[in-house]
Symmetry: C3
Subunit: 426 residues, 3 copies
C-alpha cells in the first residue's frame, strides 16, 4: 500500500519547478504526475472567456537576478524561484536603490525568509528577498534582469476521471500553481495523485471520482465554465490544500454547511484527530470559493491541516521539504481512504424485524452469557442499526447518532444484511 515516504518523494520531485497560473512549470509538474496516473492535460487559449474572467497571457521565465553595485548577484532566481514576483513582466535596467526598493517584497517579522508574492492581473515586476538582506542593501546602481515572457499562450490543467458504477461524481480539486512551496500546495497535489492511483486500481467503486490539478481561482473558474453541464453529477467534493504539515486537521464546510460531504468528513475526523477543527464556510481560501459560489453552490468542502495564513511559514520559503512530513502525508492519505469508504458504503437499510428486537443470539450474533456488561463494539453497532433502520436513517446518520465509527457501522450492516435482518433500501 501507499506510504508517506512515497508521497513525500513525489513532492521532492515537484518542488524545484517554477509553477504559476500558466506556463511550462505546470506542464512539467503534470508530466511528473503522469508517472502515477494517466492524467489528461488540457490547454485553454489566452483570451478564452470564463464567466466574468478571461484566460490571461501565458507567463514563462528563464532567469532573473539583481546585481549589486559591486556586480555581485545578490538575488538570483536560479537559487529559488520565490525570488521573483510571480507574473513579473520582462525588465532589464540599471536602477537606483530607491527605485529598486519599490519593487522589493520582504517579511519584516521573518527576516530570514523569502516571501511568495504575485501580480497576476496588474502588470508589475519585482523581487522577493529576506528582510535581513533587504536592510543591508547599500546605495548605488543595481543591475536588474527579469528574463520572462508574458504572451498569448495557454492555461494548462490536469484532469483524471476514475469511473465507478454511477455517473454521480466525487470531485477532488487541488491547486497546482504555487512555485517552490510544499505544504501549499504540493501536499495536496501529491495526496490527490496517490488517492487517484489507489482508486483507479479498484473495480468495486459505486461513485466516479474526478481529480482536478488546476491553477487557483482562474483554473477552477475556467473548468466550471467549460463543464457546467457536468455539475449536477457532483454529489461530494473536496479541495485539498495544505495537508502535509504537522498541525491538526481543519475541515472547512461547504457553503451548504450540512452537505453529506461535510458530515462524512467531520465524522471521520472525529474518530481520528481529537484536536480537529470544523469551520464554517467563508468566502476566502481556495477554490471552494468558486465551487461554492451562489450560482453553483456545490457540496464541496476544503480539507487542510494548519489553515492558510495562520502559520508563519505560510507563503514563504520556509514552507519547504522539511515543513511537510511523511507521517502527516500518510495520515492524510488514509483519512481520504476512510472518507471514500464512508461515501461508497453509506446508504439506508430497512429492518425486516421492526417489531421488537430480533433474537440475535440464535443467529450467533450475540454473547452467550447474560448479566455481563455490553461487550464488543460491533454488537452495539448492530443494536443501533436494528433500532434506526426504519428507512429514514442512513449508516452515516446512525454513526453520528450512536458515536460508533463508520467502519464499525458498515461491518455491522454487512453482518445483519447477511442474515436478512436488514435490507438495503432501493
Amino acid at each position: 500500500m501507499t506510504g508517506g515516504p512515497q508521497i513525500h518523494s513525489i513532492i521532492r520531485k515537484l518542488y524545484p519547478l517554477c509553477r504559476s497560473i500558466t506556463g511550462n512549470g505546470v506542464r512539467e509538474s503534470l508530466s511528473i504526475i503522469k508517472e502515477l496516473i494517466p492524467v489528461n492535460i488540457h490547454e485553454i487559449p489566452t483570451g478564452t472567456k470564463a464567466f466574468d474572467w478571461s484566460v490571461p497571457r501565458e507567463w514563462n521565465i528563464r532567469d532573473a537576478f539583481i546585481k549589486d553595485p559591486r556586480g555581485q548577484k545578490v538575488v538570483d532566481f536560479k537559487k529559488s524561484n520565490l525570488h521573483v514576483l510571480g507574473y513579473s513582466v520582462p525588465f532589464s535596467a540599471t536602477v537606483a536603490l530607491d527605485q529598486l526598493k519599490e519593487h522589493l517584497f520582504t517579511i519584516p517579522e521573518q527576516p530570514e525568509w523569502v516571501p511568495y508574492r504575485t501580480s497576476y492581473y496588474n502588470e508589475n515586476w519585482g523581487f522577493c528577498l529576506p528582510h535581513r538582506q533587504f536592510e543591508a542593501l547599500e546605495d548605488g546602481p543595481y543591475e536588474v534582469l527579469i528574463d520572462s515572457s508574458l504572451e498569448d499562450g495557454h492555461l494548462t490543467f490536469g484532469e483524471f476521471l476514475v469511473r465507478g458504477a454511477l455517473e454521480d461524481e466525487v470531485l477532488i480539486s487541488t491547486h497546482i500553481c504555487h512555485p517552490s512551496m510544499c505544504n501549499d500546495n504540493l501536499s495536496g497535489v501529491a495526496t490527490a495523485a496517490y488517492l487517484a492511483k489507489h482508486l483507479a486500481g479498484r473495480n468495486d467503486l459505486r461513485y466516479s471520482y474526478r481529480f482536478l490539478f488546476i491553477p487557483g481561482t482562474i483554473g477552477s473558474i475556467a473548468w466550471l465554465s467549460l463543464n457546467e453541464e457536468k455539475l449536477p453529477r457532483v454529489k461530494y467534493g473536496l479541495v485539498l490544500a495544505g495537508v502535509g504539515d504537522q498541525g491538526s486537521f481543519t475541515y472547512k464546510k461547504s457553503r451548504r454547511g450540512d452537505a453529506e460531504i461535510d458530515r462524512v468528513v467531520i465524522n471521520c475526523l472525529g474518530h481520528l484527530d481529537k484536536n480537529f477543527r470544523a469551520m464554517d464556510f467563508e468566502p476566502t481560501g481556495y477554490d471552494e470559493r468558486q465551487y461554492c459560489c451562489p450560482g453553483f453552490d456545490l457540496p464541496v468542502g476544503c480539507l487542510m491541516r494548519s489553515v492558510h495564513g495562520s502559520y508563519p511559514e505560510y507563503h514563504t520559503s520556509a514552507d519547504d521539504l522539511d515543513f511537510v512530513t511523511a507521517s502527516s502525508l500518510e495520515e492524510t492519505f488514509y483519512l481520504l481512504l476512510e472518507i471514500t469508504h464512508a461515501i461508497e458504503k453509506n446508504r439506508k437499510y430497512v429492518s425486516q424485524n421492526p417489531k421488537c428486537e430480533p433474537q440475535l443470539g440464535r443467529r450467533g450474533l450475540y454473547r452467550k452469557t447474560g448479566g455481563e456488561k455490553m461487550g464488543k463494539n460491533d454488537e452495539l453497532a448492530m443494536l443501533w442499526l436494528l433500532n434506526l433502520s426504519d428507512g429514514r436513517h442512513s449508516l452515516l446518520d446512525i454513526s453520528e447518532r450512536s458515536g460508533q465509527k463508520m467502519d464499525s457501522v458498515i461491518r455491522a450492516a454487512e453482518a445483519l444484511s447477511g442474515q436478512n435482518l436488514i435490507t438495503p433500501q432501493n
Copy 2:
C-alpha cells in the same frame, strides 16, 4: 401516605425469592404484590410465538451445590440464589477441578462478591461465587448437583390497569425476573406497586394507567405481541429500573427524544435534583429497547438512579437490602406522583383577555403597592400564563419557558380559570 419504609419492607419480602424469566419465583413475587393491588396474573405457554422469538421452556430449581473433595458444601444455592447460573440445566456428577472451572463465574475486581449470570438461550450449567473463594479451590474431585427442571410450562407476568376518564394510557413497566438483587430491580417493582396502589385509590384521573410486572426482554416482547391493538392508546410510558440506590436520578429519553413524557420527566427532575442527568435513547438497557423499536416507537422513557453497569454493585450480591434506602425509594415515589400530576393537569388554556394584560389587582390577584420588586412566584406564573395562553402553549410549554415549577403553573392556571381569565382549550 406512602413512605419509604413501607416500600423498603415489601422489597425485604421479595428479596429471598429465586426469580427468573419464568418459573415459580415470579409467581410467588406476584402473589406478594397482590397484597397491595389486585394484579392480574397471565400465563403464556412455552412455544408461543412472539415476533422473532418464542416463549422458552419454564425453569425451576429446588437445590444446587458444589461439594469439595472433603465433602463440604462450598457453594450452596440455599444460601443465595445468585450462586446458580440462571437457567442452568439439571446436572449431577463428580468432576475434576479443571472441568468445574469452565462452569464457574466470578468477578476478579470484586473478589468478595457473587456475580449474577444467566444462560437463557444457550443450554449450560454453572455456578457463581466470590473470586477469593474460587482462587482457594483445591485440586480433586468435586460433587456437583443442580436439581433444576427446564420443561414446557409458562411465562408468567402481572398486569394491572387503573382506569381513568380517558382510554389514553400511561404505561409503567418494570422487570420482575431478577433473583436476589434489590436495586435491579425490586426497587422498580416496589415503587411501581405502590404507585399503582395510590392511583387506584383516586377517582379523579383523566388517563388510564397500565402497570406491567414482566420478565425482561421476552416479557415485554410477549406483551407487545399480544397487545398490538392497544399500543395506539399509549401516550406516555416509563420503564422503572434501579430507582432505590442513593445516586442522582438519570432519565433516558424515549427514542423520539422529544415526546411529552421526556419533557415532563426532565421538567420535574430539573426542579428536584440538580445533579440529575438526561441521556438520549440508546438501544441498550431495559425493556424500553422493545417499546422503542422502530416498528412501535412508543413514547416510553426509562427512569433510573445510577445507570446499569456504571456502579460496581450492579449485577452482584452487593446489590442487597442495604444498597437501597427508604429515603431514596420515597423520593422516587414522590417524583412519580409529580410526574403523574403534570401528565394529568397538562393542557392548553386560552386567554380571554388577549389584548393587553387584564387588571389582576381589582380581582385580588396582584400586590397592592407599586414600585416594589416582583413578589410571590404564583404572581409571576400568572403573568406567564396570561402571556402564553394563546392556544399554542400547554402548561408544560409555559413551565419550560418560564422556569416556574409545574405545580406553580398548575395552581396559577386554576386561579386564573377560576376568574374566567383563561379557559381550557376543548
Copy 3:
C-alpha cells in the same frame, strides 16, 4: 451633532417635576420636550375604557408633610416628591406614631435612601422616607397633611410621528410617569426625544418613526386600545427604559424572540459592548408587556442598561442626577442611530455574477499584489456579499453570518451595487 451633555441637561430640567400616571407633572414634562420636537399631546378622559382597564381619576398634589410632636416638618414633599406615596388620597389629621407607621415606606437595607412607592388602584395615603429617619421617630402625635386631589380629569401622553417614505413604522415607546428619578426613566424620555429630533431633521428615511411618551401600563394599554388599526404597520419597536446608568447594555427580546428588531439590536450591541446581555422575553418589566401580549404580539423589544430591580438605586432617591452620566447617554444615543441605520439599510441584494466570483481587481475593488493575507475589512465584506447575495440573505443575515459589522456590510453593498455587481431585490 447631539452629545451626552445636551441629553443630560434636559434630564436636569425634567428631574424636579412630580410626574405620575396622570396629572400636571406629565403635562409640564411634555411641554419641556416640546422645546425639542413638536410632540402632540393627547388627553384621555377619566373612565375611558381600554380593554380590561379604564382610565383612572386624575391625581394632582400641591403639598404634603409630616410634622413631629414638636411641630417640625420631618418629611416634606417640597424637598422631594418621592416622599409621597404616588396617588395618595387627600388626608389631614393628627395621628399617633403607631397609626402613622402603617403608612410609612422605607428600605431597611438602604437606610439613607427614600423609596419610590405608589398605590394607583388601591386607595391609600402614605409617605416614603429613609429608614434611618423612620427608626428615630419618637412617640407622640404627628400632624399629617396630604394636599392632593383625585378627581375626574384626564390621562395625558405625548406622541410624535416622523414620516418616512413607507407607512411601515418603527415604534419607540418610553414611560414618562416616574417622579424624580433619572435612570428610570428620564434617561429613556431624553434619549427618545433627541432621537426624534435627529430623525425629524433628515429627509431620507424609508420607515416612519412613531415616538410615544406615555405613563407606564395604563398609557400603553390606552394607546393600543385607541390605535388598533395602526398596529399592523409596526415592523420594529423598542421600549427605552433605564438607559443612562453606567452598566452594560441589556436587550430584552420581543415575545417572538427572532423578530428582526431582536436581530438588529443584538447585532449592533455585539460590536459595541462585549459585556452586553440579551435576555429572552418575560412578562415582567415595562410596556413591552402590553405590546407583546398574545393578542398583539408586536415585534417590540426593550433596551436597557442595568435591569430594573437588579441595582440597589432602582426605585429610590439614589437614582438621581449623578446616577446617569453624559457619556452613557451619548453611547445609548449613538447605538440608537446605528440601530436605525441598520433598519433603514437592511434589504436583500441579488448578485449579477452568481457563477464564480467576479473579478474585483479590474474594478479597483481588490488588492493588487497576491500572496498576502486578506487585508481590509470591506474587501472581506464584499466577498461575503457576493457569496450570499442569492436573494435569500439580507444584509443583516450576511452581517450575522460573517461577523462583519452592519455598517461595513452596508458600505460594501453600496460599493458593489455602484458597479452593478449586485442589485437590490424589488
